[in-house]
Symmetry: none
Subunit: 145 residues, 4 copies
C-alpha cells in the first residue's frame, strides 16, 4: 500500500522504451504520473515531436482524472462528443481521450498512478506502457469498463 516510487517509475520508463526499440516503433515519449497526476518521470526519445510530452501527459492525466484507461475514454468520447469537448475545457486541456494512457494498480487494486505514451499508433503506445508497468511488478489497467 505504498505510493508509486521513482524506482518503479524508472523501470516503467526504461522498459517501455526498450520495448519500443525492440518493436522498431516510431520515436516515443513516456510520462509516468503519480496518483495525484504529478510527473514522477518523463523520457522523450530523440526525434519524438515537441507536442509528444503534452499528449502523453494528457493520456495519463485523463485516465487518472476519470479513473478509467484512456482506451475507455476514447470509447466514451466516440459516443459523447459534446461532453468530451466540455471536459477538454473544464480540465484546461489536460485530457487526451485516446489509447495509450494506462492506469497503474498495486497489489491491493488501488490506483497509484498512470503511464501515458505517444509517438506511434495508439495500440503500440499502449502495449509499451503495459510492458513497462508489468516489468515493475505492478498491474496495468486498460479496461474500457
Amino acid at each position: 500500500m505504498a505510493d508509486l516510487s521513482l524506482e518503479q517509475a524508472d523501470i516503467i520508463g526504461r522498459v517501455a522504451l526498450e520495448r519500443a526499440r525492440a518493436g522498431n516503433s516510431q520515436p516515443l515519449t513516456v510520462v509516468v504520473l503519480d496518483a495525484g497526476g504529478h510527473v514522477k518521470l518523463a523520457r522523450r526519445e530523440d526525434g519524438s515531436g515537441i507536442a509528444r510530452f503534452d499528449i502523453a501527459h494528457g493520456k495519463a492525466w485523463g485516465a487518472l482524472g476519470m479513473g478509467i484507461s484512456s482506451r475507455g475514454l476514447a470509447a466514451r468520447a466516440a459516443k459523447m462528443g459534446t461532453f468530451f469537448t466540455a471536459l477538454a475545457a473544464v480540465t484546461e486541456g489536460r485530457m487526451v481521450p485516446v489509447p495509450g494512457g494506462v492506469l497503474i494498480r498495486d497489489g491491493g487494486n488501488r490506483i497509484i498512478g498512470a503511464v501515458g505514451i505517444s509517438g506511434d499508433t495508439s495500440d503500440v503506445d499502449e502495449a509499451c506502457a503495459v510492458a513497462g508497468i508489468e516489468a515493475a511488478g505492478l498491474a496495468a489497467d486498460i479496461e474500457e469498463r
Copy 2:
C-alpha cells in the same frame, strides 16, 4: 427568501452521497454552489477521480450560468454545437453540459444555488443531487425548458 446556508448545503452533500452508497454507485464527487456560483460545500468520495471536482463544479456552474439544469444544457448542446464550443471558451471552460447539474430553488421559486455531481452515469449523478436537495427541503429543478 434567504440565501443558501451552509447548513442546507451540508444536508445536500450528506444525503446525496448516502443515496449513492445505498444505490452502490461508483465513487462520486458532489459540489454545492451558491447563487453567485461560489463553492459552499464539496465532498469527494474515496476513489473518485482527480478530475471529478472540476466536472461536478462545471455541471453546477453551467446550470447557474444559463439558468437551466445541465440536462437542459445537454439537450441544447446536441442541437447547437458551435454555440456550446463558444460557451466553453467564453466561460473559460467552466460549463459542463451533461446531466448532473441541478438548480436549487427556494419556496418562492428563486434560484439560490446549484448542485453538481460526477462519478457514475449522468442519470445516477442527477438522481443523487435531486435526493440531496429535496432532503434539505428545497426544490430540485432538472427541467430542460
Copy 3:
C-alpha cells in the same frame, strides 16, 4: 499508510469550524486537499467572502507544492520576493504564502494532505486548521523549517 479518507476530511472540516464558532471568529472557509492537491472537502460558512475558497485552496496547495506549511512559505516570501512572484506565475496562482495552510501527516510522518483556512487573521485560521487535523487523529505540521 493509507490515503486521507473523506471520513477524516469530514472531521477536519467539522471541528475546524466548530473551533471557529467557539472562538467567535469571522466566517471562515475550510478546504481539505489530498496529497496530490485535489479537493477532498470544502465548507464555506455563511458570510464568508467569495474569494475565500480560492485563498484557502491556495494556502493548502502551496503547502503541498513546496512540502512546507504556508507559515514557512510566508517566512521565505518575506526574504525572497522575486522568487515568490515567479512561483505565483509558474503555478498559475495556486500558491498563497500566508499562515493558515497546514500539512497533514500520518503516523509514519508521511504527508497525506493539507488544510487551508481563510476568513479571520492568519493565526486564527491556522489554529482552527490544527484543531481539525488533531481531532481526526492526525498530525498538524506548521513548522517554518
Copy 4:
C-alpha cells in the same frame, strides 16, 4: 554539433540525483529541456513536493528563454523587478529567475539545452545540475553575464 540526446539527458538526470543523495539534500526534482525548451527527461524523487516539477521546469525554461543561467536572471531580477513581472506575464509564468537553472553547452559552445532542479537551497540545486551536465561530457554554464 548534435542535439541533446536522451542518452545524455539520462546521464544528467541520474548523476544529478546521485549527487543529491551523496550530499543528503532534500528530495529533488530534475528537468532536462532540449534547445527548444521541450522536456527530454524529468525525474521527481519520492517526497519532492507537487510544485517542484513546475519550478524546476521554470528555472530551465527561463535560462533558455533569455540565453543566460537562472542565476544570472536572479541577479537581474533583483535590479529590474518590473521587467521580470512583465516577463512572468508575457511567458505565461514559464520563467523562474532563481539559481538552479543551468545552460548546457556543447563542445562548440552552442546552447543545446538546460537543466532545472528544485527541492533544496538554490545553491545545492545548481550544484547538482552542474554535476549532472559535466558527467555527460558537456559544459555547464552558470554565468551571470
